[in-house]
Each structure stands twice: as structure tokens, then as C-alpha cells.
Subunit: 489 residues, 2 copies
């Protein structure tokens, strides 16, 4: 099979498809009469190049070529996949398919990005209707894996080809065998959109309040488990039937203006409970709770690093927790003749392996955070860094002494071994209680963030650092300082 | 203010509240006539202890006490916050509030976990109606920040107290000033639930297919931006009005059985566009796209580490990419007299700081992954580790030579310095092209995963390791090997 894809219509969706194919090594041939198409696709490509290739821990194949073509015939001639993303008008789509089928191979997949039309509608009047199927992606197409593949009356062999190709692109073909207007996901989006319009119109909530109601609550849950698995967990050990027995009646309440609901028969309850068992029955509810929580912590801490959404809330809480405590103290508040507490924190779930042990690289993360905190203490804080100076780590030596688990509170105490001019040599010790877990020895240089070259820090920082260096010089030399791997053996 | 909370009703929701308060240093007094209440709360507490305290980078205050009480009066007497989570029956709630108000302080907040009732309904017949408000949380209450705070006719001073307390617990009080059945979030959940019941009943999709349609697509988006901000970005630079002009008419299509929709007037479009500007106007669409993508990559790679949802899809793709390539090769396939390629990957967005530079701790993550890959090459793979043996890192030395950005492809080449008995001494070099970025020197010991003590590896592993050790001994000594911090200065 040639790895050539034709993209008919190069907007946000078509451009996203182009990026998905090209970054997975396919040559992409684009047809779009829009004079701005090149610019639009190149903008999508820039976003995609920065985000998609890092998803896997293995580099993607060499990027395929992207070319623009003046006719549909030229774009599709040698393509194995042809993706139609033209406007949502059935007459426009029919005309496009006719042009495509005049020029393309009979063995090529023709996928439509339509969010609304059924395959049977798209296929009307086509020369080879069995070649056309719905392949409905989600924005950003280069990142989100879902593709609704609706294949009424499509050639079974071609459907298998389509599934293989989508999977090879890192996508998830959700194969719907029965067609319906708007497929599945957009029906939910429509339902939520309509409810949201009422809430705004009736003055119950603003767009921002609605978005927060989603992203601080069920939105995070739905990033990892959907509706039914989430409710299965909520139902507890008693299971899905129990949940529905509780929740079912609420369907009759006048909670919404959207009231045509299916009757809650025993048959429907059994159908759902049976499907839920097939879906999630391999895990106990207790296991699912722990999986859910590990997922939520991982995503929330990820968003914390991005300072966004639920993660921004955590950062705000943390700033309040630091204010007025040892966690927010500056050099002048701290004695210079004792190690400085630079961390007192709980090992989070996303720092651990499946056994609950803290993983190797998180030791350096904890030490790097402790270094950041020490920098803040001596005045190299966010405002100073924004002014153009900072410390960069040149060298690190970590000794792993003992293991630690998620949920343990760890403390890091830090000593200045050398603090002079551009140079800062730190010694971190990580404890759980009085159990030594690891030591971290770090050599840093103060740099200009413009030139990325070493330069002296501000006088205030140099002074604060020198004060600790002098004070700590009186302490006993730490065991393991200046050690080299292999030297002691 | 006393930091004492009373929890009336100790199921999954009440237990979640108890955990949220106790882990934030509040003493918690629980009333629940259920004989299983202690067990149920202790199970929720176990989940919460493992997940909540690690969200922040600062340890939470010392855990408060949890006590169980035989009467509501005893539980609420000295509480500053009283949370009602009894069954969703208005008569039961009214009786509960009467008992609470007989015994509690007039200055305490009485919050109800109700998902459906309006404050005006809860307050009916109360001695002090102004003390009662809706504080509707989301499961798991100890992790998700959202609380819908609906305060019709509540005392304004008490509402401020309630917001302060919820915020101090790391929660987000979404303050709704106008009451409505089911508040906001559950109206969306209801709409989706009803649509989902139709899809299952009509045989369009199973519960698993529906869950996948959510979590592989819009669910991940909604974990970080809600409905309106997502659509604002989709609308592109033309903005929210443009999006609605495109999407609006679709509301008239027969896409759902839930058809009572608000009329799409200019007034409604202006209202929404204006609110959206107020909400998201501080960022350009281009910025929002990049924020969205960084959030998505972060969450998807987080789920990859958990091997769940969209992250499990990435792992499946990666396994296929490795099979039959250098990325999946074993010792016997590789020459012993040259460094071994142990990584060839793209720096992901979640490895970088806000400037796009790879952060310190991710160098160790890359080296640790390279070590894992080398272990796999010599036969210390998942199956071997499951049988009870593995290598643990005892010591690490990293030198940072040059910077690297998100999107760069990095390669790690690995040499065995010593491979003998329990000992493995590795030397990693990380490159972008031929630019040396960092070196990582690692000393590992083979251990029994039962005893956590050093023991020799299998004969096959020892042999494979010795072969590389011998072959690599003929290569020039790497610059920087066996270096100690400070020694060279």
C-alpha cells in the first residue's frame, strides 16, 4: 500500500488530518480552493509538530511530504486514503465524492469528516457507494485519538483497511455498525450544548461558570473513564444495577426541558448492567476506584505543572499554604548555621510505579524542586528570574539509600557547600522522618537568560548565599560528599 | 473559628467530605445510623490518604481526628461546618435540618450535598432558613475541586464564610446566585445520561463504546477547558460569534429526541459571545490552542504512565512501533563492540518549562528509561521482573552539557563500564543529532524484589551483560567518566 493520503478541504479538521498523516510518515496531497489554505495548514502543522511526536517514547518515522494540488483528481490519483472535510452540505459532499471517484483507486478508503450525515446519505448517487464511509475525528485531530467510523454498506475489506490505517496513526476507530444522525459523541455534545444555552439564556450561569462546572468536576473524570464506568464505580460493590436503582428514578424528575426519555424497564436495566459487566467486570470496584484516583491525581498534577484548570486551583491553594510559614520564608528569616528545610511534602501517586515505590527520576524532581525553593530563599525568585538571571544545574550526583512509598511525607534539608560568584554547590538530604532516603549533590552556575552564559548573580543573592555558605562551613562534612561512581569500589 | 466539621450521613459522599476536612486538619464528627458507616468511611479515608495529600507540593497540616457519634446533636454541637449527605428525600432532609438546628451554633454553615433540591426547598420550615445552603460536591469528593454553592436567601456573611472554608480545603465554590433544580453540572450529566440510554436501548452503541466515545475525545478536552472555551478555540481567530454562526443552525436539525431548544436570537448570540470574551479574551486563539495542546499532551502522557484510557492507546501504538525495529531488538541482535542505542525519541511538551526547554529532572527520566531499555535488551524484561528480579539504581551522576527544546529528537547511546555479578555500571550519552546534551553515569545493583537485597541476576542476563562489558572495554574511556562534583574545580 502506498503511504499517500489525499486531504480534500484543508481547514482546522482537514489540516489536522494532514498533520496526523504527515507526522506518521505519510505523503499528504491537499486540495483546497481557499487561497489561505497553505497558511492555515502550516499553522496546524506547527501546532502538531510541537505536540504529537512527543506522545510516544519512540520517535515517529521521518515526516512525509505535504503538497498542494489544483484539482481533486491530481490530489487523489495515487492515494490509499482520501479524507473529505468540505462544508456540511450534502450537495457539496455528493459533488466532491463524484470528483474523487472519477480519479481515485477503487481500493482507496474514502473517509468523510462529517459530524452529522449518515453513510447512507453520503453514498447516495455514488459510482462506488461501498468505498465511502464516515471517519469523524475530534479537534485537535493530531492529538485526540477518537474517530467514529460508521460503515453502513461499505466494503468489509475496505473497513478492515480503514481500521488498520487509523490504528497505525495512533487513533482509535470506534466502529459503529448502525448509523444514526450525528453518530454518538456529537449527540452528547448537542445535548450539553442545548442545556448550556438554556442556562445562559435563563441567567443561571455564565459561559465561564458553565466551563468551570465541567472542567473542575465531571470533565476530569470523563478524561479517563466515561459515563457508565464512572457510575459503576459510584454504585460501589453492589454494582451497576444498584446504581441504576438509585439513579434511575431521577430520570422522571423535571430537571430539564429535554424530557423525552426511554422507559426505565427491567430489560433496559439488564441490558446496561450486562454491558457494563462485559466492559469493566475484570476489575473490582475497589480496583477501579484506585485506578480512577491515580488517573485523576496524574492529570491534576499535570495540569498543575501547566498552571491551568484544576491544576491552577492547586497552585493557588499551595501559595496560601506557603504564606506566613516556613515554606514561604526567605533567607533573613532563617538561621545560617543549620541546614535549610527546602521541602516538606507528600509523595504523590504519579511519582510511583505500579508497586507504589517512588521512581528514580522523581528523586531528581524532588531535589530540583528543593533547589528551586533554595533559590527562592536567597532571592532568586520568579520576579528575579523574569528580570533575566537564574541558576542552571551543570552537574548532579544522586545516591539512592532507601525506598519510599506514595503517601509518605518527605523532608529535604539543604546545605551550601560553596556559594561564591557564579558558583553554587548544594547538598540535599531527603528523609522520611529520620530515615535517610537519598542524597543529592548539585553544582549550579548563575547565568544570563539572554546569553545563556555564566554571569554573577545580584549582590543581594551573592550575599544571602555567602551567609549560608559561611554558616554551613561549620557543620561536619556530609558523608558521601564529592563522591564519584566507581571510586569507592 | 473551631476547625470542627460535622458530617451527617457517611456514605461515599459524606465519607468523601470527611476525608477532605480531616486531611486538611479539621476534626471530623460523623453521625450515621448505618452499622457499616465506620467501615465505609475508613475505606474512603484509605483512598483519600493515598491520593489527596500528594496533590500539593507542600505537606498538608497534621490530619484531624475522626469520631463517630450516636446523635446528630452531639456531632454538630461545636461544629463550624455541618454537611448533610442523607438520602435525596425532602422529608428526610427537613427532619435532619430540624435536629441539626436544635443543637448547632447559629454561626455554623449548614451545607447540603443534594444534587437535585433547591435551597428554597431545603429551607422550608427551618428555624433559621438563612443558615442552610446547597454545597453539592462531586465524587471523589476528596479529589475533585468542584462544589456548587447555591445560596438563595442564605445569610451573606455565612456565604462568605462558606466560600473561604471551601477554598481553604482546595475546593472551588461555584457560587450560583439563582437556584434551579439540579443546579448546573447535573443538568449536563442528566442530558448525557438520557441520550446514552437511548443509544444503548436503540442498539447504536454499547456502554463501552459510549465510554470510549467520551474519554478518547471530548472528555479529555473537558478536563481542561469546558464547552464554551473549547468552541471558542475551534472557531478560530474569527471568534465565538463565527463559531455560533456555523454551529448554531445545527441546533435545528433532528439530531436528538431532546428537542426543546432556545431560539437562536441575535440577543442570545451576543450574550454568549460577550461572556466568552470576558472569560477567555485575555488569550489569543493561537495562545489558547497551544495551552490546550500542552494540557492534552500532559494528561495523555500522564494516562500513558498509568496505562489507561488514551494513554493505553499510545502504549499499544508504541509496542507496534518497536516490534521488528532497533527499538525492540535484544542483545543477540546487536553488535557488542559499539554503544547501544537505548532511546530515539522526541522531547514531549510535558518535559519542558514555559520556555520550551527540557527541565532538569526529565534528563534523569530519559536516562532511567534508557536504562530500562538496556535492561530489556539484556533480558531483564517485564517477564523477568515479574519473576522476582530486577536492577535498582544505587547512584547517578548527570552532567548537563547543552539545552534542548520540546519537539527535538534525542538519541541516547549506552556503554557498559562494568557488568559483573550483581553490579552494572552504565554510561549514557544523550545527543540531538551530533550535539552532546548530557551524560548519565549510573551504578545499579541486581536485587531480589522479595527481599529488596542484592542477589546475582540469571545466568542469561549475566552473560548478555558480560558480552557488552567486554566489547565496550575496547572503546576509548568516555570523557567525564568517574567524575565527582568539585573534584575538577
Amino acid at each position: 500500500m502506498s503511504k499517500t493520503a489525499a486531504i480534500i478541504g484543508g481547514g482546522v479538521i482537514g489540516g489536522g488530518w494532514a498533520a496526523r498523516f504527515a507526522l506518521n510518515g505519510w505523503d499528504v496531497q491537499i486540495f483546497d480552493p481557499d487561497a489561505q489554505a497553505k497558511r492555515k495548514v502550516s499553522e496546524v502543522m506547527a501546532n502538531a509538530r510541537r505536540s504529537l511526536p512527543g506522545l510516544t517514547d519512540v520517535a515517529l518515522p521521518a515526516e512525509g511530504s505535504i503538497s498542494f494540488h489544483d484539482t481533486i483528481a491530481e490530489a487523489v490519483a495515487d492515494a490509499a486514503w482520501i479524507q473529505e472535510s468540505v462544508p456540511e452540505r450534502l450537495d457539496v459532499k455528493h459533488a466532491t465524492f463524484a470528483e474523487i471517484q472519477n480519479a481515485c483507486k477503487a481500493g482507496a478508503v474514502i473517509g468523510s469528516s462529517t459530524s452529522g450525515f449518515k453513510p447512507s446519505e453520503l453514498q447516495q448517487g455514488a459510482a462506488r457507494p461501498e468505498q465511502i464511509m464516515v471517519a469523524h475525528p475530534f479537534n485537535p485531530v493530531y492529538l485526540l485519538p477518537l474517530v467514529e467510523l460508521v460503515t453502513t454498506d461499505a466494503s468489509p475489506a475496505l473497513v478492515e483497511t480503514a481500521k488498520d490505517i487509523l490504528t497505525s496513526l495512533g487513533m482509535h476507530p470506534l466502529h459503529l455498525k448502525k448509523e444514526i444522525d450525528a453518530h454518538v459523541a456529537d449527540r452528547f455534545l448537542e445535548a450539553v450544548w442545548r442545556e448550556a444555552l438554556w442556562l445562559v439564556k435563563d441567567g443561571i450561569a455564565t459561559t465561564e461558570e458553565i466551563d468551570n462546572a465541567i472542567r473542575y468536576g465531571f470533565g476530569i473524570r470523563w478524561a479517563q473513564m466515561g459515563l457508565f464506568e464512572t457510575y459503576r464505580v459510584a454504585g460501589g460493590e453492589a454494582g451497576m444495577k444498584h446504581f441504576m436503582a438509585q439513579f434511575g428514578p431521577a430520570l422522571k424528575w423535571p430537571w430539564t426541558k429535554l424530557m423525552d426519555v426511554p422507559e426505565f424497564t427491567d430489560e433496559l436495566v439488564d441490558l446496561i448492567a450486562g454491558q457494563s459487566d462485559a466492559q469493566s467486570g475484570a476489575h473490582s470496584i475497589r480496583e477501579l476506584e484506585r485506578i480512577r484516583d491515580a488517573n485523576l491525581v496524574t492529570m491534576m498534577r499535570g495540569l498543575k505543572a501547566q498552571d491551568w484548570g484544576a491544576g491552577a486551583l492547586i497552585n493557588a491553594q499551595e501559595r496560601k499554604m506557603r504564606a506566613g510559614t516556613e515554606h514561604g520564608a526567605r533567607a533573613a528569616d532563617l538561621p545560617a548555621d543549620a541546614p535549610v528545610m527546602t521541602a516538606h511534602r507528600t509523595v504523590p501517586l504519579d511519582w510511583t510505579d505500579y508497586n507504589g515505590h517512588m521512581t528514580e527520576s522523581r528523586y531528581l524532581l524532588a531535589f530540583a524542586d528543593a533547589t528551586d525553593r533554595f533559590m527562592e530563599i536567597i532571592g532568586c525568585d520568579a520576579a528575579y528570574i523574569a528580570s533575566g538571571g537564574s541558576y542552571f544545574t551543570a552537574e548532579t550526583h544522586i545516591r539512592h539509600i532507601d525506598e519510599v512509598h506514595a503517601g509518605a511525607v518527605i523532608t529535604i534539608r539543604t546545605r551550601v557547600i560553596l556559594g561564591e560568584g557564579k558558583k553554587m554547590h548544594l547538598w540535599h538530604e531527603m528523609f522520611e522522618g529520620d530515615r535517610l532516603l537519598a542524597t543529592g549533590e548539585h553544582f549550579l552556575l548563575h547565568v544570563s537568560l539572554d546569553t545563556r552564559k555564566p554571569v554573577p548573580p545580584s549582590a543581594a543573592i551573592e550575599q544571602a548565599l555567602a551567609r549560608f555558605a559561611q554558616g554551613h562551613a561549620g557543620l561536619p562534612v556530609p558523608e558521601g560528599l564529592g563522591r564519584a561512581i566507581g571510586a569507592a569500589r
